[in-house]
Symmetry: C2
Subunit: 147 residues, 2 copies
Amino acid sequence: MVDGNDPGEIAFQVYPIGAVHKRDGEVRIEIYPEYANALLGLKQFSHIIVLYWFHENDTPDQRRILQVHPCGNEQNPLTGVFATHAPVRPNPIATTLCKILSIDGNQITVDDIDAYDGSPVIDIKSYFPHSIPKEEIRVPDWKKEDH
Amino acid sequence: MVDGNDPGEIAFQVYPIGAVHKRDGEVRIEIYPEYANALLGLKQFSHIIVLYWFHENDTPDQRRILQVHPCGNEQNPLTGVFATHAPVRPNPIATTLCKILSIDGNQITVDDIDAYDGSPVIDIKSYFPHSIPKEEIRVPDWKKEDH
């Protein structure tokens, strides 16, 4: 199941619904015209969760990597990819939070995104503050020192 | 591109890495054994982001639905699915935040999850508090009244 090459295994199909464009300091998410109607009402939100595809890491070998030194720093302890946001993972899906600057037709301009120019976008979701945990949030030392 | 039936279009492949189990009030995420090594170090986090597949909504017709009344409430204004977390969307991927209660081998017990028993899990990511926006978060009235 890990290598994704067994034609007998069940896979789900994900289609790009847009793409990231980075140019001259501007970060724009283009939603393909056939999906533009799915943006109705999004202007009333300040933030979005963007799901994009780590397309440069979508190889059978990279999907088999299950442990990494987070942030590519060998000082960080070897860690399972499910405990990180590493781009190498069994399903190379990224989730990231962006602040909306403007929406013009099928173009969403955001403050920044940790994607590449050309990254395929696979979903947009509005961001709700009640998804923030009320209780204490605990992270390991390597993560505390990371920012 | 919307109907996903054109063999010429580019699709990304997503494979289940586990499944949700709900039984007797317990909510457990089973990670398939071949991915268990990807959990190393996850115990040091208190919360995870779980990505799962809305498998009961993965039909060409449901993927074509671009606007809904949020939460199935007709009093809520017609809204683009990218401004909601509706299970009908072009790529039926759910993202949800869970509090870890315990991790035992390849089994993660969480406080709750808005998935069904049997929902396919496609990714787990650790949750970092610095992903919470520092600035004001804005949502429309229909969302404020929802909780």
